[in-house]
C-alpha cells in the first residue's frame, strides 16, 4: 500500500510540476518537472496490476517529451521546449485519469 501511495504521489506531482513549468517557464521549474517525471516512471516499474502498464507507458511518454525539452530550453529554443512540455502535460493528464480509473476498479474488486 505504501508503495502505491508513493507512486500515486509522484504521478500527480509530475502533472502539477509540469503545469508549474508551463505557468512560469524558467530553469528551476523545468528541472524539477523533469526529475519528478523520471522518478514517477521509476516508481511505476514492475507493477502488474490493472492499468499499471498503461500508466507506465504514459509516464514514459512524458519523460520522452521533457528530456529533449530541458536541453532545448537551455540551448535557447524556449518555444520548442514549451511545446514539448505541453505534450508531456497531455500525457500526464492521461496518466492521472488512469490512476483514478485504477482506484475505482480496485474499490469494486474489494
Amino acid at each position: 500500500m505504501a508503495k502505491k501511495i508513493i507512486s500515486d504521489i509522484f504521478i500527480i506531482l509530475s502533472l502539477t510540476t509540469n503545469f508549474m513549468f508551463l505557468y512560469f517557464p524558467n530553469a528551476i521549474t523545468i528541472f524539477i518537472a523533469l526529475f519528478i517525471n523520471l522518478f514517477a516512471t521509476i516508481f511505476k516499474l514492475g507493477e502488474s496490476k490493472f492499468l499499471a502498464t498503461k500508466i507506465l507507458a504514459t509516464s514514459f511518454v512524458a519523460d520522452l517529451h521533457l528530456v529533449p525539452a530541458i536541453f532545448l530550453f537551455f540551448l535557447g529554443y524556449k518555444d520548442f521546449a514549451i511545446a514539448l512540455a505541453i505534450g508531456a502535460l497531455v500525457s500526464n493528464i492521461i496518466s492521472v485519469l488512469l490512476v483514478i480509473i485504477e482506484s475505482i476498479l480496485l474499490l469494486f474488486q474489494e
Binding site: L38, I42, F43, L45, E47, F73, F74, L75
Partner: protein
C-alpha cells in the same frame, strides 16, 4: 455416469504459461527500480548542486555531474565549482556518487544480460502469437526427424508449434529458420498444452522415442481432445503390435519408419528399369518434389463440379493439370473417359504443377465458376 465424460480433462480459460512469463518480466522490471532510482537520484543531486553554484546553468551542471560520478574528471568546468564551497560539494558528490553510479550501472547491466530481458520479450511475443494460432499442428519433441518435417511443413504453408522439454535444444530451435514457434516446457503439462492453443489445433505429431512417454502423451491428448475427427494424432511406432496398441488408444495414424524405408528400398529394386518414374511418384506423394504435386478433391453435394462431365471442367485447359484417377466408391478408375460424370462423394485425383494445383484448390474451396467451361454455365 458416463465414464468417458468423467475422465475427460478440462482446459483452463487462461494462458497460464504466458502469465508466468509476464510475471517474470514484471519481476525483472521491479528489480531495475532501485538501480535506476539511485542513478537518477545522483544525477538529480549533482545537477541541482552545480546549478545553484552556477546560478542556473543546466547543461554544464549536468555535464560536470556526469564526468564526476563516471570518474572521468575533466576538471572544474562549471562556474562556481572552483570556489571552496564548490570543491566541498564536488568532493562529497564524488565520494557518494561514484559508488552509487558504479553499483547501479553494474546492477542494470547484470539484470539485462544475466536474465536476458530481450530474449524474454521475444519469447513473450512468440507465446502471444502462438495463442492466436488456428488449424495448426503440434509437434512433440525436436530430433532429426522433426528437423526434416518442419522443412516440408513450412514449404506447404502449414502452421505448427514445436514442444520439447530439453533446454539444450533451445539454441538449435532459435537458429532453425523453418521453426517460427516453439516452446521449451514439460509437454505433459495441461497448462502447456493449453497455451499452444490445443483447442483450435488440427492435430498432433508425436515424434518421441521413449515408449512410455509416447503412451502417456497419447492418452493425455486423447483425454483432452476425445473427438478423433476433430483432432488427428500421428504417432511413430516400432512394430505392428505397438501400432495396434496406439490405434486402440486413439491415434489416427501410426507410422512405422522401418516399414516405410524397406518398402521404398524394395520399390527401387523392383522398378530398376523405370527408376525415374517410381522415384518421381514417390517424391510427389511424399511432398518432396517442389514443382509437381498431386491433390485430391472430394466432390460434395453443393460443389460446382457435382453432376458435371469431366470434359466440361477447365482443369486441363485453364489450369493445365490432368485428372489422373477418379475414386468412385471403392473403385479406383485410372483410365478416365472425358464423358464420365462427377458425382457426390467422388474423389478426383489431379496431377500438375504446384502453382496450378494451388489455384484449383482455392477455386474448389470457393466453389468458383472458373472450374467450368463458360458455355456450360
Amino acid at each position: 455416469m458416463n465414464k468417458g465424460k468423467r475422465l475427460r480433462l478440462k482446459l483452463s480459460k487462461y494462458n497460464t504459461l504466458l502469465l508466468k512469463y509476464y510475471s517474470e518480466l514484471y519481476e525483472l522490471l521491479e528489480q531495475l527500480k532501485i538501480p535506476l532510482f539511485l542513478l537518477v537520484f545522483i544525477l538529480f543531486v549533482g545537477t541541482l548542486g552545480y546549478m545553484i553554484l552556477s546560478k542556473g546553468n543546466f547543461i554544464d551542471s549536468f555535464y560536470m555531474t556526469v564526468i564526476t560520478v563516471a570518474t572521468i574528471g575533466f576538471g572544474e568546468l562549471v562556474e562556481g565549482s572552483d570556489t571552496p564551497v564548490g570543491r566541498v560539494f564536488t568532493s562529497f558528490l564524488a565520494l557518494g556518487g561514484i559508488g552509487f553510479y558504479t553499483t547501479s550501472i553494474t546492477l542494470i547491466v547484470n539484470l539485462l544480460f544475466r536474465r536476458d530481458l530481450f530474449s524474454l520479450l521475444k519469447y513473450i511475443v512468440m507465446l502471444e502469437n502462438i495463442s492466436k494460432l488456428k488449424d495448426h499442428f503440434i509437434i512433440f519433441s525436436y530430433n532429426e526427424l522433426a528437423e526434416e518435417l518442419v522443412k516440408i511443413l513450412k514449404k506447404n504453408d502449414l502452421k505448427f508449434v514445436l514442444i520439447d522439454d530439453n533446454r539444450e535444444n533451445e539454441i538449435k530451435l532459435t537458429k532453425n529458420p523453418y521453426v517460427d514457434y516453439f516452446i521449451i516446457e514439460d509437454m505433459f503439462d495441461k497448462e502447456v498444452l493449453n497455451s499452444v492453443n490445443i483447442n483450435y489445433s488440427k492435430g498432433a505429431i508425436i515424434l518421441l522415442n521413449d515408449k512410455i512417454k509416447k503412451l502417456a502423451l497419447l492418452v493425455t491428448l486423447r483425454l483432452l481432445k476425445p473427438n478423433k475427427d476433430e483432432f488427428i494424432i500421428y504417432i511413430l511406432a516400432s512394430d505392428n503390435e505397438e501400432e495396434e496398441k496406439y490405434k486402440s488408444l486413439g491415434a489416427n495414424f501410426c507410422i512405422i519408419p522401418s516399414k516405410i524405408i524397406s518398402t521404398r528400398i524394395i520399390s527401387y529394386i523392383s522398378h530398376q528399369a523405370y527408376g525415374f518414374v517410381s522415384d518421381l511418384l514417390d517424391k510427389v506423394s511424399y511432398g518432396e518434389e517442389k514443382e509437381i504435386d498431386i491433390i485430391e478433391l472430394v466432390i460434395n453435394k453443393d460443389s460446382i463440379l457435382n453432376n458435371r462431365k469431366i470434359a466440361d471442367t477447365t482443369i486441363r485447359k485453364k489450369f493445365k493439370s490432368t485428372i489422373i484417377a477418379l475414386k468412385k466408391g471403392d473403385n479406383l478408375e485410372v483410365s478416365i473417359d472425358p464423358n464420365t460424370i462427377l458425382q457426390e462423394n467422388d474423389v478426383v485425383i489431379i496431377f500438375g504443377k504446384y502453382s496450378n494445383l494451388k489455384k484449383i484448390r482455392e477455386a474448389f474451396i470457393n466453389n468458383s465458376k472458373e472450374l467450368i467451361n463458360i458455355e456450360q454455365i
